[in-house]
């Protein structure tokens, strides 16, 4: 039995009295494709509309460039933007692209790999879509990804053509319309040529 709520404006936050388990959340997401779901540390489910056309195009390109590099580089693996990562604070989040070292990837059991990845990626990329509020994405990076142990995060602001780089223990650094961005730390050697992203 299913209840439905039609014409619901999104994003919306849903807070059930009884929190959803990981399995519930996986089922709930599956029932509600193509909506995107994340779980807040307090158990609230954030329900977002499907990615817009332009953001979807850019998203895949960024992921593809990272994955092409990672395959040749050989030190880690890349996950797409629909992957859920379960953080230590109970949140389930999806970055637009994520890189995880082979060493940490190999530690996950088969069962863990089937659910939300119980780890924080070493490197994440977030793109702002027009409906995103920049302070919210900024907060997600500093308070979730970096706090959970990411070694490097990039925030690509599509509208303003800026890239902000977050490193542990350092002030974020914003590049204005850079021609390319150089990876460091876990992804030293990766270069994202922005001209190819903007297309």
């Amino acid at each position: 039995m299913d209840m439905t709520l039609s014409s619901l404006p999104l994003p919306v936050r849903l807070r059930p009295d009884v929190p959803m388990s990981d399995l519930d959340l996986i089922r709930f997401s599956r029932e509600n494709r193509p909506l995107r779901m994340e779980r807040e540390p307090n158990g609230e489910i954030l329900i977002m509309s499907p990615t817009g056309y332009k953001t979807g195009k850019l998203n895949l390109k960024v992921g593809r460039f990272l994955d092409e590099w990672a395959e040749i580089d050989g030190r880690g693996v890349v996950c797409d933007s629909s992957t859920g990562f379960k953080l230590a604070n109970g949140a389930v989040r999806s970055p637009d692209a994520a890189w995880v070292s082979n060493e940490r990837d190999a530690k996950l059991t088969e069962q863990e790999q089937e659910g939300f990845g119980p780890l924080c990626p070493d490197f994440v990329i977030e793109l702002t879509s027009p409906s995103d509020k920049l302070p919210d994405v900024w907060k997600k990076i500093t308070e979730e990804w970096m706090a959970a142990g990411a070694q490097l995060a990039w925030l690509i602001d599509v509208k303003n053509r800026t890239v902000t780089i977050f490193r542990p223990g350092e002030e974020p650094e914003t590049l204005f319309d850079p021609t390319s961005v150089q990876g460091d730390g876990p992804v030293r050697g990766f270069e994202l040529v922005m001209g190819r992203v903007w297309g």
């Binding site: 299913d2 439905t4 709520l5 409906s131």
Partner: protein, 219 residues
């Protein structure tokens, strides 16, 4: 179109596209009764639509905005509530002062939307609302309500709800529990009065003159 105009147009499109999605709430992960909160809260029309499209579930809104969902009445409760509804309705028609409603939702002054199995409202009060307004949940409290205790009800929850009816302007509320054969009567400014195994209940206040024979309920 310049690039900047194009961006603005795109922004507008994406904002406008940001609605009208259908959300499925699978009951497997949400055993009823359940309480969920939406942020931003559902509007009155969204709440109405949610109730109408999911009439296999009883939906109310708490004063704090949480949506409360519980199963619809089991057969035995539906049977005796049917008898009582008929009695109240027939009496109301003869009496002429008020209108009897079954399963109606009311938007109460404290911000909640509550449904009662049976409610009765002065027709004069109901007539203040336009036909259009009456297509939704009208923003007033009924004058008299009857609630039934059934197996899926938490007694403490229902007792609290009875108090909320009174706090929101209901003049008389009866809670009928067929398992314990008790009827609890709530009135403004008075302690609830418990009748044990009454053969009939006398209406007071707004429904003075109404008498409910309990024989069919207790059978």
């Amino acid at each position: 179109m310049t690039e900047a105009e194009d961006e603005l147009e795109f922004d507008r499109m994406e904002r406008e596209a940001d609605y009208a999605f259908r959300l499925h709430l699978p009951v497997e992960w949400m055993p009823l009764p359940a309480r969920v909160r939406f942020d931003p809260p559902l509007t009155e029309s969204e709440l109405l639509r949610f109730s109408e499209t999911n009439d296999i579930v009883w939906i109310e809104r708490e004063a704090d905005g949480a949506i409360y969902m519980r199963p619809i009445a089991p057969t035995i409760v539906a049977m005796y509530s049917g008898h009582i509804l008929a009695d109240v309705s027939i009496w109301a028609e003869t009496d002429g002062r008020g209108t009897c409603c079954g399963r109606a939702g009311w938007c109460l002054p404290d911000g909640s939307m509550r449904g009662a199995s049976i409610s009765w409202i002065l027709t004069e009060k109901l007539n203040r609302f336009t036909k259009e307004e009456r297509k939704g949940f009208v923003a007033t409290a009924p004058d008299f309500v009857i609630e039934f205790m059934s197996s899926h009800h938490d007694r403490a929850y229902l007792e609290q709800k009875m108090g909320q009816w009174i706090a929101n302007g209901v003049q008389l509320a009866w809670l009928i529990d067929s398992d314990s054969r008790t009827v609890t009567i709530y009135r403004p400014g008075e302690e609830p009065e418990v009748l044990i195994d009454p053969s009939s209940i006398q209406g007071t206040g707004p429904v003075r003159g109404f008498e409910l024979a309990m024989g069919r309920v207790w059978e």
